[in-house]
């Protein structure tokens, strides 16, 4: 919502359709039923039920590929899906199970460094035909036996032909495909018998260009696509040869035909709404699915909305599958065969379309489809069809699709049903005029367009004399004159026209008055304007669209009269005066003025005064229905401010009040409902974060009272339960509910989610089973997949179950597809991180890097600093592995910066202090007032005070982080005091009246946190050393030797101080190497100094190797380094994953000697250099170098890079 104009933003949303506010439509069947979930959260007095769902079929996503899926085929039993996806620059071929009861990972078929296209599964599912391009870039047909894992694909065509789009005959014995021979322009359909593969394919006579074959279930008819008439269209021909005929009468582009299972119809993709000038690109952008009967030549029936380029429809069982890019990337989706809107009587269809069009936010593509279905149901004739087509045209106009709108208006006009056909003619004429007007190059051209348009409108008015059509035509003519910008004479003409509309009634009269006021305003007749607007408000209050607009115009002009730059106080004063002046006469205007006053104050950051203004508006309650929009605006604006002030419950109550007064179909109800859901969830999450758990719980429970299936509320309730340590009770509750409704997807999920909060593997396995069942019931909820991914991730990273990371990745990807980044950016950021982590753990660093970049770009704050530190560390590592130059430096530097801030040597004292405060505030002080325990409390208070003093004493002594010796003394002191504290805690129970167990548990946790805090400084210092090492490496890769050397020197210094001796050789070598490289860029004494430094360092390396050895060579593995935003962050685990790449002891020593010989050469000591080389060559001569000591072992890099650039790795 606009932050400065609350009520105006409200009106913008409410008026966005240009339709009357508060429009009501017929009630549809109730589909949402409230049910009790968490028993104690429910009361018998439920005021309202959840909104009814519109009776439309929402497409379900079937595949969740990150690379575009371009082709698909499905076995007739619906169990297997073959598809292609773009990955690594090629189109790969994959096979996966669609059977929800099978847990089978997708399998890549016939991998090759070439495109795999157009998969076709044989009816028995045992063979797969496809197009391959490895031998012929034009494409060859291959066939693969799927029953043998070791089978290789067999090529069926040669290089002399261009082959594509294979499909099997129903008996599986023949393969049909398109073919173009050398030197020919047109394509043919050919049939190849699979029993005699070597025979030449038979050409089927289609009478011209033919492609994309599909065979009817009885094998007798071939459907194909041909561009023979100039546009791509579907044709039919008997497979045995015969007459070719076009399937539909449509002039739209058509593609990818496929027969219905009963053979009576053909599905295909088409572009019905952009027929004129449609190109192949527009086919992709606006294509929808359609079906047409084979028997007759007729218009196709559209099945879905033009959202996301629908292609390749095919029915398997009772499901219609297709490709669409609805969620960004092209993937497989499904619908019932009836499409998004099932057939029903025309009147019901029209009512449904109106309901769809009245939604907020409105799905115009669905509204277009719904109105189209209504016209279709009415047989495209009669009043209902005319209404539907007119409304469809209006939707197209709002979608800025003028050609499609003109087509709909022309169709409505042709039905000759008044007044709809007349209105349609007017709209069509206006579209034409607008087009000409926009194309005009000068005033003369514009005047000509205007005059032509006026003539058209006058003709319509004349042809429909004394009817609303005539009035509307004149109104539009006046509006044309108003908007023409062609001078005052045009405006005066407009007034004359409006004055002549004496017979206008209702809305048209209101519109006429409003237009007149607008024209007077334009010609500067200010004194006439306000009375006209006032007449609109007074005389036509029920025409809320015009009355509300008039209110806004009056207020705009009143404020404008104060001059630009008027103080907000003056504006508010003027508005207050208007409100008072019209309080009784024009309550709508009076309320509007108060609302605007609220807006003015709000924009000036005077929230208290803004609230007063809105409250004043609400106080003017009345039963007058005509002011309901103003009251709603006041209520929702007040709610917005209260929400921002974190007075969540009051804000939510206002939304509730607004909703309670309206039927669900009402757009204001939907506006309030959407805000209520979004804000309730966000408020609950916020309150949980700041620890106001009961309040958060109350909000989530409130949401569940309205809709027991609202998954975010269940998640919130369960998180609250975890915070209150009541998961076992909540779990028992959900289990109880599940017993009553064993198939309820939400309950299955919630029970599973509760289980993930318990320790051990068994609860996780049960959670996995329950959530998998939930997904089988309803696979469209992102959280279901997200939690399943989390469980799989933990099962592998914590419990060592192999193969689970891949499953987790797939689940997270599904969740991300289902999650709306716009609506839920926080969750999108979580999923980016989750997916990045899995790629990281799988060693797929480029992918991890991309995901981490997306997480970083989201700018969503991290839950805690540890997660952020680890995130940047991993971002740096994956960027480094992806050969990025600057990003690793940036990421490691950021991680280091956060670590530096986080190293607080005496953090344990802060945590300890909280125990002291808790004991005093919550236990001892209340007990002091109880006579029965006062003495005991006093004794304990003395002990606690003494302990606190001792803590203060040891805390104020200076001590740096480890390895500072003073820190060791500090840590030992804290440990001793903690033991004393625990002795005090043991003596506290007699002072406790209620909740002894919880209090003791809390104190136990607090003591544990002190111990944990003592562990932080050493861990962070160690992490700091490692990060300096990583940063040094990143600088080194970027050729910034000086910074690299400094970073490695820091790492060496810290590791030396910490006694992490195994790292010293590598650190020393890196320092020396970078000093050597830096020397190469300098001259004179600087060069000498650096070479000396390098020499001294490399001389020291063998000593360090001998004394301390080297760090383990193994890099991070898939079991290491789990990090998940839902998990406690473990820095130890995570940072070890990629930290220990390096060389063997032998390699380190040899490397040092190599550089020492180079340095000797550089410093003009050839004899010394030669001696060192000889020393190194000696073992090779004897064959004494072990394989593990060769440089190419143990590194992901090519051998050639080791000795040089990556020597610091």
């Amino acid at each position: 919502m606009n932050t400065n104009r609350l009520t105006r933003a409200f009106f913008a949303a409410a008026l966005c359709l240009g339709l009357p506010l508060g429009a009501q439509v017929a009630h549809a069947e109730q589909t949402a039923t409230p049910a009790q979930l968490v028993a104690e959260s429910l009361r018998p007095e439920i005021k309202r039920v959840a909104p009814r769902k519109l009776d439309v079929n929402i497409p379900l996503q079937v595949s969740y590929e990150t690379g575009a899926v371009q082709h698909l085929d499905i076995t007739p039993d619906g169990k297997w899906l073959a598809y292609t996806r773009i990955a690594g620059g090629y189109s790969e071929l994959w096979l996966r199970s669609l059977d929800g009861t099978l847990s089978v990972l997708p399998r890549r078929i016939a991998p090759a460094l070439a495109d795999r296209l157009s998969p076709a599964l044989s009816p028995d599912g045992k063979s797969l035909a496809f197009v391959g391009a490895e031998d012929d870039v034009k494409g060859d047909i291959y066939i693969q036996d799927l029953t043998r894992p070791d089978a290789t694909p067999q090529r069926l065509t040669g290089r002399d032909t261009e082959d594509g789009a294979p499909c099997f005959s129903p008996d599986g014995g023949t393969l049909y495909f398109q073919q173009r021979r050398q030197g020919e322009g047109a394509r043919h359909i050919v049939a190849l018998s699979l029993s005699t593969l070597k025979a030449t394919p038979r050409v089927i006579e289609t009478g011209g260009d033919a492609s994309a074959p599909a065979i009817s279930p009885d094998g007798k008819t071939l459907a194909f696509v041909s561009a023979r008439s100039g546009i791509s269209a579907v044709y039919l021909v008997p497979t045995s040869g015969g007459a070719v005929r076009k399937l539909t009468t449509s002039q739209a582009q058509e593609a990818t035909p496929r027969f219905t299972p009963d053979g009576r119809g053909v599905y295909f993709a088409t572009v019905p709404y952009a027929a004129q000038g449609a190109t192949a690109e527009s086919l992709l952008a606006f294509s929808v699915l359609a079906v047409a009967d084979v028997g007759g030549t007729q218009a196709p029936r559209i099945l879905n909305t033009a959202k996301g380029a629908s292609l390749e429809p095919m029915q398997s069982g009772s499901t219609l599958y297709f490709l669409a890019s609805r969620s960004g990337q092209s993937n497989v989706w499904s619908l019932p065969p009836a499409g998004e809107i099932a057939s029903r009587p025309a009147a019901e269809q029209l009512a449904l379309a109106d309901a769809v069009a009245a939604q907020l936010p409105v799905d115009r593509a669905l509204a277009v489809l719904a109105y189209g279905k209504a016209a279709e149901a009415a047989g495209n004739t009669g009043p209902l069809a005319a209404k539907a087509l007119l409304a469809q045209g209006r939707q197209f106009e709002l979608m800025d699709l003028p050609e499609a709108a003109a087509q709909a208006f022309t169709s409505a006009g042709a039905l000759n049903v008044q007044p709809e056909s007349g209105f349609a003619h007017i709209r069509a004429a206006l579209l034409g005029i607008n087009k000409k007007y926009a194309l005009a190059l000068n005033d003369a051209g514009r005047r000509a367009a205007l005059n032509g348009g006026r003539a058209q409108l006058e003709l319509i008015a004349k042809q429909n004399a004394d009817s609303p059509v005539a009035v509307q035509a004149r109104l539009e003519e006046a509006r044309l004159l108003l908007n023409s910008g062609l001078g005052s004479s045009s405006l005066l003409e407009g007034i004359h026209i409006l004055d002549s509309l004496s017979k206008a009634g209702g809305e048209q009269a209101a519109e006429a008055l409003y237009l007149k006021a607008e024209i007077y305003g334009r010609i500067g007749q200010g004194q006439a304007v306000l009375p006209l607007y006032a007449r609109v408000i007074r005389n036509y209050p029920e025409q809320s669209q015009w009355a509300d607009l008039a209110v806004q115009r009056v207020l705009d002009q009143s404020i404008a009269a104060l001059g630009t730059g008027a103080k907000f106080e003056d504006q508010a004063q003027a508005l207050s005066t208007i409100s008072e002046q019209y309080r009784n006469d024009l309550p709508k205007l009076s309320l509007g003025a108060l609302n605007r006053m609220g807006d003015v104050y709000y924009a000036a950051d005077e929230w208290a005064k803004a609230k007063d203004a809105y409250r004043q508006a609400l106080a003017q309650r009345s039963n007058d229905p005509n002011i309901s929009t103003q009251l709603a605006a006041a209520r929702l604006s007040l709610a917005e401010i209260l929400y921002r002030e974190e007075r969540f419950h009051q804000a939510l109550d206002l939304y509730e009040t607004e909703m309670a007064s309206r039927p669900y179909e009402d757009r204001l109800y939907r506006l309030a409902k959407a805000a209520h859901l979004r804000k309730s969830t966000a408020a609950g999450d916020y309150l949980l974060r700041i620890g106001e758990v009961p309040s958060a719980r109350s909000i989530f429970a409130g949401l569940l009272r309205e809709d027991t299936n609202y998954v975010p509320a269940h998640r919130g309730l369960i998180r609250a339960s975890a915070a209150l340590h009541t998961i076992p009770a909540t779990l028992a509750d959900y289990r109880h509910q599940l017993t009553a409704k064993p198939g309820d997807a939400t309950l299955l999920y919630a029970t599973g989610l509760c289980l993930t909060y318990l320790d051990g593997k068994a609860p996780l396995l049960e959670a996995h089973e329950l959530i998998s069942r939930a997904i089988m019931k309803n696979g469209q909820v992102e959280y279901f997949h997200q939690t399943l991914g989390y469980i799989d991730e933990v099962l592998e990273t914590v419990h060592g179950e192999r193969g689970k990371l891949e499953a987790a990745l797939e689940s997270y990807q599904r969740a991300r597809f289902l999650n709306s980044r716009e609506q839920n950016p926080e969750n999108a950021a979580n999923l980016d991180l989750n997916i990045g982590n899995i790629h990281f753990l799988l060693g797929q660093y480029s992918n991890a890097f991309e995901e981490y970049l997306a997480r970083q770009a989201s700018k969503v704050p991290f839950d805690n600093e540890e997660t952020e530190i680890l995130f940047y560390q991993r971002l740096g590592t994956s960027a480094f592995q992806a050969r990025e130059r600057d990003k690793p430096i940036e990421a490691f530097s950021k991680s280091l910066e956060l670590v530096e801030k986080r190293i607080q040597p005496k953090y344990a004292s802060e945590v300890f202090g909280r125990i002291n405060k808790y004991v005093f505030d919550r236990i001892i002080t209340p007990a002091l007032g109880r006579a029965d325990v006062a003495q005991k409390a006093k004794d304990l208070a003395t002990r606690q005070s003494e302990l606190n003093n001792q803590l203060f004493e040891i805390s104020i002594k200076p001590a740096g982080p480890p390895p500072d010796k003073a820190w060791d003394a500090y840590a030992a002191g804290v440990r001793t005091l903690l033991a004393s504290q625990e002795r005090i805690i043991v003596d506290l129970p007699p002072l406790l009246k209620d909740d002894q167990e919880t209090t003791m548990q809390t104190l136990g946790v607090m003591a544990g946190k002190v111990r944990e805090a003592l562990g932080f400084p050493p861990r962070f210092v160690q992490l700091r050393a490692e990060l300096y090492d990583r940063l040094g490496l990143a600088y080194q890769e970027a050729g910034r030797w000086h910074e690299a050397r400094e970073a490695f020197e820091k790492a060496l210094e810290i590791n030396t101080a910490l006694g992490l001796n195994a790292n010293l050789a590598a650190n020393q070598r890196s320092v020396s190497y970078n000093a050597f490289m830096e020397a190469g860029l300098t001259t004179g004494t600087d060069r000498d100094r650096l070479l000396a430094l390098s020499e001294a360092g490399f001389t020291r390396v063998p000593e360090l190797v001998k004394k301390y050895g080297v760090a383990d060579k193994q890099g991070g593995g898939r079991k290491k380094g789990l990090i998940n935003i839902d998990l406690n962050v473990s820095l130890d685990k995570a940072t070890s994953s990629q930290a220990a790449y390096g060389f063997s002891a032998e390699q380190e020593t040899r490397l040092a000697n190599t550089f020492l010989s180079r340095i000797a050469t550089e410093r003009g000591k050839p004899a010394q250099a030669l001696g060192l080389v000889d020393k190194q060559l000696a073992p090779f001569g004897k064959g004494a170098v072990e394989p593990q000591d060769a440089f190419w072992r143990g590194s992901a890099s090519a051998p050639g890079r080791i000795a040089g650039e990556r020597v610091g790795a």
Partner: protein
């Protein structure tokens, strides 16, 4: 008949008198009473913690109070208002100027000064009608906030439960009233506690 034993603890914290109402279980209570009074007690405890001066950690740093939502802060402020006026309200009751109504609120009566006890004569003479009305209004506003917060803190209550919550608070006031205080019974009639 459920009886509630109420103990008042007057604590002097940072120079401000805070009346902490701790409701102890003396006999069985209804579930609703338990929930509401539980919320009230936790709010009371929170108010005490906010006022605590021990906001300094062992390193000598002043610990900022934990972040609170606007609505929680409103409730704490309301509790502080109630505590601030607690002595005056006690005096008003002894003077017969206010009584506890059956909606959990104070109801003002005529400010008669002639029968004021000796220790309140000076007090009674200093108070004007305007100031008296302001105090009663402020206390009632704070009580409304606290009652609303009690609903907000209970997952199984909604604003529609406000009458029940008022009833519980009225009952609490009735039980804690001292002999001579005016109270309004559930049937709307006024009486004087014996």
């Amino acid at each position: 008949m459920k009886r509630l034993a109420i103990a008042f603890l007057a604590l002097t914290v940072s120079g401000c008198t805070l009346a902490e109402v701790k409701v102890n279980v003396a006999s069985e209570r209804t579930s609703l009473e338990n929930q509401i009074l539980g919320s009230y007690n936790s709010l009371s405890e929170e108010t005490l913690l906010v006022a605590s001066v021990r906001g300094v950690d062992p390193l000598g740093h002043i610990q900022p109070p934990p972040k609170k939502s606007g609505e929680q802060q409103d409730a704490i402020t309301a509790m502080q208002v109630l505590a601030f006026h607690a002595d005056d309200i006690d005096a008003f009751k002894r003077l017969g100027w206010v009584g506890e109504d059956n909606q959990g609120l104070l109801r003002g009566f005529e400010m008669t000064r002639d029968k004021a006890p000796d220790d309140l004569k000076d007090f009674a003479s200093r108070y004007g009608q305007k100031e008296f009305n302001a105090v009663v209004a402020e206390v009632n506003k704070a009580r409304e906030t606290v009652m609303r917060r009690a609903i907000e803190l209970n997952a199984n209550l909604t604003p529609a439960d406000a009458p029940k919550v008022r009833g519980v608070f009225a009952k609490l006031a009735e039980d804690t009233a001292k002999p001579g205080d005016k109270i309004q019974l559930a049937d709307g009639n006024w009486t004087v506690k014996r």
